[in-house]
């Protein structure tokens, strides 16, 4: 088992004829992902790198019934692309695009939330994220596939390369990963830490979870509170940005300590208070997971339901 995606997952790529879309659609296919084709308005009916191209997501859905759409559309058009995928009934949307205006994402989230409240299922991963991978199953994103190894640790992160760092350690130690989800570095996003933790808790293959957060917002704290109340599996947390000065944005649109809130120190304290194993050195994430798993007595029983 794994979460959200596996070998059977059917994928299309929005923006498949662009440089990024084209490169990564091919890389995902080479990894073994079932990439069925892609969408570029105006290029429907053509074939690109062996992929059939449709004019709209609706056309793609009618033709091949995909489960997932992977989006590489430029920021100015990305919000529209996400809504197009949702409107066509795609249940899992993975948006890699960096630089989408935050108010666009507020509107997108609003509409996705309404659709979910009305009984549909539509999940968004990202934007500004590396995507999702279930090793040996499906790579739906821009992460290097070979650093992963199928295993028992779930990974959820706001970062890209920092996630690869953690994954590499897990792979080297032979623990491997069940699924890795990059939820993205923007302030408003789709799936959050909490949502992914809930999925990992239910996944029989996942035995421990690595949660990689960073400065800004309070999503890590909310997830930790959830973990304390509802999770039996150990969660190992790292928060990047201990040395980041307040009021400055650190690369990611969402990585900013503002109004005295969202500092790494406060997050680490909060996580610890909720029973998360917090590491302050990212070089020992893998080792800490191994230790947590080797302690048979670590597995906690939830204190309340």
């Amino acid at each position: 088992m794994s979460i959200l995606v596996d070998r059977s997952t059917r994928v299309i790529v929005q923006g498949i004829t662009g440089k990024e879309g084209s490169y990564h659609a091919t890389a995902c296919r080479e990894y073994g992902t079932r990439v069925l084709g892609g969408v570029t308005p105006g290029k429907g009916g053509t074939v690109h790198e062996g992929f059939p191209v449709w004019d709209s997501v609706k056309d793609a859905v009618d033709a091949v019934h995909p489960d997932v759409s992977l989006i590489f559309v430029p920021p100015a058009f990305a919000a529209d692309a996400i809504l197009e995928a949702a409107d066509a009934g795609i249940e899992l949307i993975v948006c890699i695009t960096e630089g989408i205006p935050v108010q666009d994402m507020m509107r997108v989230r609003r509409i996705l939330d309404i659709r979910n409240e009305e009984g549909e299922t539509v999940r968004l991963i990202g934007p500004n994220c590396p995507g999702i991978i279930t090793p040996d199953g499906a790579k739906i994103g821009i992460m290097p596939g070979y650093i992963h190894k199928r295993g028992k640790v779930g990974v959820v992160s706001r970062s890209g390369t920092l996630t690869y760092e953690a994954v590499w350690q897990l792979t080297q130690l032979g623990l491997g990963e069940s699924t890795c989800v990059g939820i993205g570095g923007d302030p408003v996003r789709g799936l959050n830490f909490l949502d992914v933790l809930a999925l990992f808790e239910k996944d029989p293959e996942t035995e421990a979870i690595v949660m990689i957060g960073e400065i800004g917002g309070d999503d890590e704290e909310r997830a930790a509170a959830f973990a304390k109340a509802h999770m039996t599996k150990p969660v190992i947390g790292f928060i990047a940005g201990l040395t980041a000065p307040p009021g400055r944005r650190m690369g990611h649109a969402g990585a900013i300590v503002s109004g005295g809130k969202g500092s790494a120190r406060d997050k680490m304290k909060a996580l610890e208070s909720y029973g998360i194993i917090v590491v302050d050195n990212p070089s020992v994430i893998g080792k800490t997971v191994a230790e947590a798993l080797s302690k048979g007595d670590y597995r906690r029983v939830p204190t309340c339901h």
Binding site: I100, V102, R107, E165, V188, G216, L242, A253
Partner: protein, 395 residues
């Protein structure tokens, strides 16, 4: 992106939010000329003026950046004092900010002071209205000492700020009931400004009730979403490059994401999260990070060379730590870029390169055989320890 107070007030005015009239000058002579010509605000009855230094930072009043002129003849002297002065406030850092422009506005009779702001609230994914009766104070301080004196109300940007929201805030602030309508209109206009110009924050501190019963934004602070600037031409035209760090401007020209910090160990990393973690690990190893620098996915020779030049542009830098996790980009290509760039730039400080990921072994081998004076590391913490040691040894 941030703008100056005088620009924010102009923006307010264009959205129908009342602000004091004023002029912006960059010399005392200009102020003298405008006064002698009885230009605009100097033509009327006003006898009191506020002379305010224009920098992108709060806390100007406490730092001596705001002067009250009791007569027109005092104005040029105050302008002279403020221009060219380096203001140090709690938001500027110890190096302070040079004052290049001064805003002169008509004084207002203050009957009451309030705090009002709109911020993009990432948790609720709404625009959050913050209002307080404690105008003129730092809102963080009010929040810590008297949280009950702050009202926080979420506004759905799709719906805009309706009359009932305005009335609720007005009631909380204890405004005279005759002003509920005017206040609601002002709040709706601010919300419209927020949405239409892609703001992250709009702050009025203080919003005042004047002696003659009008609402007036005595200060104005606006910051915008950088991701939306592509569609905000008018906003982008307000950018003041003097307010930004030279190295940061240079970096952004080369699509490098650089933030200058106060430490002595520079770092060059691919990816924002890993770049932050690298800064943290430098601190953990006993050093102080000199910057945040995300070189992105590319890390070609040109990118690395530009990055080196920017890092070395900071005289405080005593050593450089390159930390690259090669994913899509193979490490031997990155090693090639580093070798070529290091030769061209002529590094004069210790360099530690940590390569991991795709073809890392080959990359490290190339670096070792390059004949360059550098150290190679495999693990992140190991690399940080090496650069901290090297910098200590070099002293």
């Amino acid at each position: 992106m941030n703008i100056h107070e005088y620009q924010a007030k102009e923006l307010f005015r264009s959205y129908g939010v009342a602000v004091p009239s004023g002029v912006v000058v960059d010399s005392a002579d200009e102020a003298r000329r405008l006064i002698s010509e009885k230009h605009g605000i100097f033509s009327g009855q006003s006898s009191v003026y506020a002379v305010k230094a224009q920098i992108h930072a709060g806390g100007r009043g406490k730092a001596g950046g705001v002067k009250i002129a009791k007569s027109v003849s005092d104005i040029p002297g105050y302008v002279e004092t403020l221009l060219g002065k380096t203001l140090v406030t709690h938001q500027t850092g110890p190096e302070g900010r040079l004052v290049r422009k001064v805003w002169i506005e008509e004084g207002a009779q203050i009957s009451r002071e309030y705090y009002l702001s709109l911020v993009l609230d990432r948790s609720s994914r709404r625009i959050s209205i913050l209002a307080s009766t404690e105008g003129g104070m730092e809102i963080e301080e009010v929040s810590a000492a008297h949280p009950e004196k702050i009202l926080t109300l979420p506004v759905d940007p799709e719906m805009g700020c309706k009359g009932f929201v305005g009335r609720r805030v007005a009631a909380f602030l204890g405004l005279p009931i005759t002003l509920y309508g005017a206040f609601s209109t002002m709040l709706a206009n601010l919300t419209r400004l927020f949405v239409e110009t892609d703001c992250m924050m709009v702050e009025i501190n203080p919003l005042i009730l004047t002696g003659d019963g009008r609402l007036l934004a005595l200060d104005a602070k606006v910051s915008f979403d950088d991701n939306a600037l592509y569609r905000q031409e008018k906003v982008l035209a307000l950018r003041d490059l003097f307010e930004e760090n030279e190295l940061e401007i240079e970096a952004s020209k080369h699509r490098l994401n650089y933030v200058k910090l106060d430490g002595s160990i520079a770092c060059m990393v691919n990816g924002a999260g890993l770049a932050m973690a690298t800064m943290d690990v430098i601190a953990l190893a006993g050093g102080t990070p000199a910057n945040f620098l995300d070189v992105g996915g590319g890390a070609s020779k040109e990118t690395v060379e530009q990055a080196f030049r920017i890092l070395l542009g900071d005289p405080a830098v005593k050593g450089i730590f390159v930390n690259i996790f090669g994913g899509i980009v193979r490490c031997e290509r990155i090693a090639g870029g580093i070798i070529a760039a290091a030769k061209d730039v002529k590094l004069h400080v210790p360099l530690v390169v940590r390569l991991q990921g795709t073809n890392a072994k080959e990359g490290r081998e190339m670096l070792r055989e390059s004949g360059l004076d550098l150290q190679v590391a495999e693990e992140l913490f190991e690399g940080a320890q090496k650069i901290v040691q090297a910098v200590k040894g070099a002293k």
